[in-house]
Point group: C2
Chain length 212, copies 2
């Protein structure tokens, strides 16, 4: 399912959602689903779903719908979750520990190879089956182990300096929970900033009287 | 700044981002900024920014730009972060503890009132200054304390049952980290589902060869 055209970012942001629902449907024993039924589940219009999936040649059959398992597998391949990625976590506070123990990594094809922290209270302790290493070891570890992704759960003041050091050591992707935009001076580096507060603010707006 | 027209969801999803950047600019001592400069920082086109902010009457002055502090304060009021919301956390694993200790809550105007768990290993322990209570106490606590928001960091199999119980007890907003769509049978309940894996899959796609 190698596709030559570049997928637009809005489509790409919806694919994991489709994938997630198809995984659940498959686990529930559902073998086929129409774009209309999928639309109700996912809260995306049926025409949007058809249009998104047509970007890759389309998988549905008129009057039959989508084969759940084969669509799931195709999306997995497109998203690249069938490949394996090597990741490290930098910053082993509560959030770092939560991510280390979360099945999100495995589900996305990400293997956690090591954890790093700066605090002597944490370095040497065991988290998710790994002994936490000193941050000073991170760059050489990434070089030696071809680390693809660094998960940054460290204070915002240190995030960009650490990211630059790791990009220098070959890390190509940053999943950034430091609540700040990373400034990384390397070509070909991808960054996903996660601002958990944004969705909480949206929720606060929704529950406030202003939304009535 | 009470606005009568309903703000569309796409605009509403961008406002916390504007707010976040304006907070950072203000902290950095910047007093005014043009939509063009803001555009570069935020990665949203200048015309989109002007259009979004015009929804509320517009704050900029031609040839001057936006006053950072006053725009930040206006957005805070629109988003409702100047109000206070009372929240509980249900599920005190690593993620629940991370959120309890995260400044995201305070920044969004959310006061954590209590934490609940089902496990005897966790109930009675202290997290973020609160003694974790048994989940069986959650509904009466919400009723007695007018809890607005429940933060769900519990296994997906239990999420909907717990959400329904809490909605019954008056909770109007759910910030849901249970990796499943909540099914809540109550009118006027708002739900923000957080799927952290979606942004990780997007990142995996970006670092994979397919994106080249």
């Amino acid at each position: 399912m190698k596709n030559d055209k570049k997928i637009s970012t809005p489509v790409l942001r919806r694919l994991p959602k489709y994938y997630r629902h198809l995984e659940e449907l498959s686990r529930a024993g559902v073998s086929k689903i129409s774009s209309k039924e999928l639309s109700k589940l996912i809260n995306v219009t049926a025409s949007q779903i058809r249009q998104d999936l047509n970007c890759f040649g389309g998988f549905g059959q008129q009057g039959y719908g989508y084969n759940v398992d084969s669509l799931r597998d195709s999306l997995a391949e497109i998203l690249g979750v069938t490949r394996r990625y090597t990741a490290i976590i930098v910053g082993v506070g509560h959030l770092g520990q939560a991510l280390a123990n979360h099945n999100t990594l495995t589900r996305s094809g990400v293997d956690l190879a090591a954890l790093f922290d700066i605090s002597p209270d944490v370095v040497g302790s065991e988290v998710a089956g790994h002994v936490v290493q000193n941050i000073t070891q991170a760059a050489s570890f990434c070089r030696d182990n071809n680390v693809d992704i660094a998960i940054l759960t460290l204070p915002k003041g240190e995030a960009s300096a650490v990211a630059n050091m790791l990009a220098e050591a070959g890390v190509r992707g940053f999943w950034n929970f430091a609540n700040t935009e990373l400034s990384v001076n390397h070509e070909g580096v991808s960054i996903e900033n996660v601002y958990m507060g944004d969705s909480l603010m949206k929720l606060c707006y929704d529950v406030s009287d202003q939304s009535l």
